[in-house]
């Protein structure tokens, strides 16, 4: 009964200071929701990165490409490729006895901002966890085989966002989104399959055959040459002559090579690729191949695991910095709550003195103060943590859809758990300080002095 009364007094006091209590709880909650968001987003990004890096231990690209560019432009589809390689290079790499498989890729156009990447059927087989939908006339194991070079395999989220279904057709734009010089090719892609979600960057990508990429570029170059010759009335009506020139500058590296072929009349059966994803037979070979292909002067190579770890380290630093910012905020909030409670104690000294005259001991009175501060801290932690995670769960589809981050809304990160422990510790420390203050105060004499 004694403790029921103590709790009752505590909740009464809390309910009588609604505004300051609400503000305190809200401030703690907001800081915890922020911590939850930092943790989950960071974990989601890391999980995506690690998943992607596990599939292909090595990426080989043209000389001069940095490790980050190689990884970002291939596994994450976010960076522009640094240049091109001959397809024959991939064939040569495949014949290396240390290599178990190679997956040449050619970053090409985009559709409404979704990158279109030219790949071989083997790549689709490698990444796919099955199809949401597939053209029944297509061989799922050799999706770009036969006359299916115009086939497009759509990532789950890209299909959802642009409402794409099997048999739909679309045209890709050359250049990236937002580029004023981006223009639409008249090459028509046909949707042959929609991938099941992979919880990675592939969900927001479009894959087509290498052949189609090469065809577009050959066609594109013929067209550009034609345009150069006539210097008027080209397909992309909205482009001015200067814009066109500008457009060429962007793809100079690729074009140069094509022009070279045209000039010498050596049209190859194969075209260019932008990188090769490599599976090696063991990690020692990965290191050896990376060294070899980084030092030959023609290519650059990177160990995806190491590069992703490097990226994660930066991300981790950012997470920690944000975490420290949150801890600082939490600390200030706790001080604010403490000051609020002390002010409230001063306002309630008379009532506490009265309790003492009625024989209510110093311990129950001090315990009430302790509990008030402690309950506010706990409420802030619980509401902030649960609310933050619930909010993340609620926003997960939108975040997933808009940012391509596969959130784990109910994952508790170290930053968050540390935040909970620190706030609990601060709550206990400050509550005890307030409790000791009230325990040591001779309330009756305080009142008598007034």
């Amino acid at each position: 009964m004694k403790y029921v009364f103590i709790l009752k007094a505590v909740f009464h006091s809390i309910s009588h200071r609604k505004f300051s209590v609400f503000t305190s709880i809200f401030a703690i909650s907001a800081a915890f929701a922020f911590l939850a968001a930092i943790g989950c987003v960071s974990f989601g990004l890391a999980a995506t990165a690690v998943n992607s890096s596990l599939s292909f231990p090595l990426v080989v690209g043209p000389a001069g490409a940095s490790d980050t560019t190689l990884v970002m432009s291939t596994l994450f589809n976010t960076d522009k490729p640094a240049g091109t390689l001959d397809y024959e290079f991939a064939e040569k790499l495949a014949s290396d006895e240390r290599v178990s498989a190679v997956f040449p890729i050619a970053r090409s156009d985009s559709y409404q901002g979704v990158p279109i990447t030219g790949v071989e059927s083997a790549y689709i087989n490698e990444i796919s966890k099955g199809f949401w939908d597939i053209d029944p006339m297509i061989d799922a194991k050799d999706i770009f085989g036969g006359k299916n070079s115009d086939c497009a395999v759509i990532g789950a989220k890209a299909a959802m966002r642009y409402d794409m279904s099997v048999w739909d057709t679309f045209f890709g734009s050359h250049g990236t989104v937002g580029d004023e010089d981006a223009h639409v090719h008249d090459f028509k892609y046909k949707v042959c399959a929609i991938l099941k979600p992979l919880n990675g960057p592939e969900d927001f990508a479009i894959f087509t055959s290498l052949k189609s990429v090469w065809e577009i570029h050959r066609h594109g170059h013929h067209q550009h040459h034609h345009e150069d010759a006539e210097d008027e009335e080209h397909d992309h009506e909205h482009h001015e002559a200067e814009d066109e020139e500008h457009d060429h500058e962007h793809h100079e590296a690729e074009h140069e090579e094509h022009e070279h072929h045209h000039e010498h009349g050596e049209e190859s059966a194969y075209g260019k690729i932008t990188a090769v994803l490599v599976k090696t037979k063991n990690p020692v070979f990965t290191a050896a191949l990376e060294r070899e292909y980084s030092e030959n002067g023609f290519t650059s190579a990177t160990d995806t695991g190491r590069t992703v770890r490097k990226l994660l380290t930066y991300m981790n630093k950012a997470e920690k910095a944000a975490g420290f910012f949150s801890y600082g905020t939490l600390f200030l909030v706790m001080i604010l709550v403490f000051v609020t409670i002390l002010t409230s104690i001063n306002e309630r000294k008379r009532e506490m003195a009265l309790m003492r005259t009625l024989g209510i001991g110093r311990f129950p009175i001090s315990l009430m103060i302790f509990l008030e501060l402690f309950i506010i801290s706990i409420a802030g932690i619980v509401i902030g943590t649960l609310g933050g995670h619930a909010l993340l769960a609620f926003c997960k589809p939108a975040i997933d859809f808009e940012l391509g981050i596969n959130l784990e809304p109910f994952f508790f990160t170290e930053v968050e758990i540390r935040g909970i422990i620190l706030t609990l510790a601060a709550g206990i420390f400050l509550s005890t300080a307030a409790m000791i203050k009230i325990y040591r105060t001779n309330l009756v004499e305080e009142i008598a002095r007034e």
Binding site: K8, E351, L354, L358, G359, G361, R362
Partner: protein, 226 residues
Amino acid sequence: MAGSDTVSVKNLTKSFFDPNGKKAIIFENVTFNLPAGAVLRLSGASGSGKTTFMNVLSALTKPDSGSVFFGGTDVTRLKEGEKDRFRAENIGYIFQTFNLLSPFSVIENVYAPLAFAGRLPQDFKEKALISLQKVGMESFAAQKPYHLSVGQKQRVAIARVLFADPKIILADEPTASLDKNSSELVKNTLLELNKNGTTLVLTSHDPIFDDIRHDIDFNLETGALS
């Protein structure tokens, strides 16, 4: 030899320092025995130290020197926790400002002190209702104190004392802001309790208490004890 419930005050002295740092004596070397069921009337002008004397008697304030014995124990030398228990078990306080605990309902106010002390009787709710009934407040049992009038609050404070059945009642201007009927009720309740053996320490400027029998009159203003 004083009885077990006799209050024995021995050489009690209390002073304070005024704002100028000058020491002012409130009472000095006060000695008397107050047997169980006796009435001690404290008189003197406002600010003469009547409330301070009550606080010393109930071990809320430490005297400069001297002792207050109750049942053979010097309550001035008890530890803080023991003082709290002593007050909860023996003292009933009635203030001019009623001092009900705002978090609790009327009935909870009646039994709160014993609840906090962890010594509620089994049928405490029935007993609390009976106490409220004696002061005509049973129908307000579930109300919160802020719904009550001044007179009703003091009745609840009286019911709290009735419920605790203390050995000593310290009544500090108990009728100061009450109407005639409420004052009569307070006076009669105090007298009834006193008749049943409860020691009463009273300070009041209300003429209603002028005719009350008292065993000791201690004038704090003059220091005279009669």
